[in-house]
Amino acid sequence: MAQILQYLANGLVFSSIIILGSIGLSLVYSIADFANFAHGDTMTLGAYGAFVAFGVFGGLGGTVLGLPIGFFIALVVGMALAAAVAVLTHILVYKPLDTDSIGLLITSIGVAFVYRAVLQASFGTDFLQYDISRSGPIPVLLDTLDVAVTQRDVAIIVSAAVLVAGLHLLLQRTTLGRKMRATADNPDLARVSGIRTDRVILVMWVVGSALAAAGGVFLALYSQLDPRIGFNILLVVFAAVILGGIGSVYGAMLGGLLIGMLHELTPLLSDVGLPISNAYAPAVAFVIMVAVLLVRPRGIAGDMT
């Protein structure tokens, strides 16, 4: 039982990362209408941006949940960097294209390679770490529930929750949010209603990429940083988006939660005797993704926006 709780705790951390990635991917899928293969590398970009910024601000005093204040500043810098690069990419690359969604999809692969090439040329392929000492599991949880959760895990979950809540408020309580939802729902109708969809699309890139960058930073914090982390996790993020229903932000959150959990629950399969090792966790997610595409391509929350 404690074992299952442990898996669920790990799942919650991993889900937080996947959710942050899947929201942006889903937004772009619904607004710009293509599968953005550069989204994973946007996550990596944010993680490296935060890495550099952490070198500058890392010394700032005070800690929250075992992480220095400087880390959160670096996080914001990484998010801003990814948002800026995404907007720039949209203006320079995607917008001038006269092509269909498949052409955009193929272009986004090229964009992904360029991002990764720049990062690889600047930082090399070695594993990097944020220079923050790791602490052991929180004693209270270890004693009462026999579950090992570090402060860092809690920080990731809480930060993700704050960001997701912020997005929820943005979408539901502001005029900008209403415009975004209207544009996602029906771009043409939004345009004739007087919404400047061009601007909404830019906001969409900013929000989606910033959240993706946060996901990338937490992913690097959770494990380590190298130029491939984003691309390696991209398909898992796609699985979450598809499970949740493409174009639905809340679906992406739900899909992210489920896929993240399933990913970390994979060891359970070998615990009950199925010969499927941990290494197949992404494979399990991919197979679920294909199954969802076949059985219910709208996803589990297809109609909610």
Partner: protein, 369 residues
């Protein structure tokens, strides 16, 4: 399309041929002056031909049938692993099988995988097919990486024999091989030159056969239906065609050609590892196809050549130390920029299909097909 006579070439075609000719002459010059080892040049030719095969395979699926297959690396890898597992001395399964027999092992594996991947995914929308096929290709790679009791895992397979190793005459050559003309030795060749040359002969035969086969089926009624499906699948459906069956057939044929490339790769490089199944392999082939021209087999050949030029050119450039950037990121950067610029500037590719699509008779006659 304006008047297009067989035998006359557009300025662009002349340009491409001229450019390739100049490059070829430069490479030959490099060999003659001793700057480039002859065996290495032959190796590059073999590698280009391998990418041509992969591109032609993808062309059947994407170019003819409009299927976005992002699992090229998986079929290539299965072809390579299929033959390697059967022939290699380092194989955990059997090893020692004749390469000619093992060839069919690789093809068989790929055909089975093509049906397994194709059956569920070919009904999907285009962009879903892209994501799903990439995911399933990763499943194959993860499997090969982790089931080391069958595949030797991340260490890869070594000890793969040459394709001609057990052939009657070619397998028994002694080295250095000396050419005699009228009893006097004219020149001798090292083992690496002879084997590289034989590999080039082998792959040339395969490429020629595949090219002729594809041209034939493409001009057949089967190819016509496939092109209709690419243009308008609902129309093909309305005409009473079982579009799923046609797409499945094209998918399997394309996958077999990719596996053939994999088999050749195994016996060319004599080593395979899960690294060969990385998604980047798939995207290299995609670049080759969209650069050359979607649906164009001549374009696929140009694309294959370009990929090898990028791969080896970046290595060469960084070896000279003239660049402040490593070979791997430079390669990624070039491939990325190439993709972006092709879609932006020449979405139809450099050598788009022209006369491939029609019977020679119908050219110039003004009669619509």
């Amino acid at each position: 399309m304006s008047t297009l006579d067989v035998g006359t070439y557009s300025p662009r075609e002349k340009g491409v041929v001229g450019l390739l000719g100049v490059l070829g002459a430069l490479l030959l010059l490099a060999v003659v002056t001793g700057f480039l080892a002859p065996a290495y040049l032959l190796y590059l030719v073999g590698l280009s031909a391998m990418y041509m095969l992969l591109s032609m395979g993808l062309n059947v699926q994407w170019g003819y049938g409009g299927m976005i297959n992002f699992s090229v690396a998986a079929f290539f890898g299965l072809g390579a692993y299929g033959t390697a597992l059967l022939t290699a001395s380092g194989s955990p399964i059997s090893g020692g099988v004749s390469p000619v027999v093992a060839l069919f092992g690789g093809l068989g594996l790929a055909a089975v995988l093509a049906v397994i991947i194709g059956y569920p995914t070919l009904k999907l929308r285009d962009d879903y097919l892209a994501i799903a096929s990439l995911g399933l290709a990763e499943v194959v790679r993860i499997f090969i990486l982790n089931e080391s009791q069958w595949t030797a895992g991340s260490a890869g397979l070594t000890g793969i024999p040459l394709f001609f190793s057990d052939w009657p005459v070619l397998g028994d050559l002694t080295y250095p091989y000396v050419f005699y003309a009228g009893g006097t030795p004219v020149f001798n060749m090292s083992q690496s030159v002879v084997t590289s040359f034989l590999n080039v002969v082998l792959v040339s035969v395969i490429v020629a056969a595949v090219y002729l086969f594809l041209r034939r089926i493409h001009q057949s009624p089967w190819g016509r239906v496939l092109r209709t499906i690419r243009t308008d699948e609902d129309l093909a459906e309305t005409l009473g065609k079982n579009t799923f069956a046609f797409k499945m057939q094209a998918f399997v044929i394309g996958s077999l050609i990719m596996a053939l490339a994999g088999v050749f790769y195994s016996h060319l490089v004599l080593f395979v590892s899960p690294q060969d199944l990385q998604p980047i392999t798939t995207f290299y082939v995609w670049v080759a196809v969209i650069l050359g021209g979607t649906g164009s087999d001549r374009g696929a050949m140009l694309g294959g050549f370009t990929i090898v030029a990028i791969q080896q050119g970046t290595r060469f450039l960084t070896d000279t130390g003239a660049l402040p950037i490593g070979a791997a990121p430079l390669r990624l950067m070039l491939v990325g920029l190439l993709i972006i610029f092709i879609v932006r500037l020449r979405p139809e590719g450099i050598l788009p299909p022209e006369r491939e699509l029609i019977w020679p008779d119908s050219l110039g006659g003004g009669r619509d097909e």
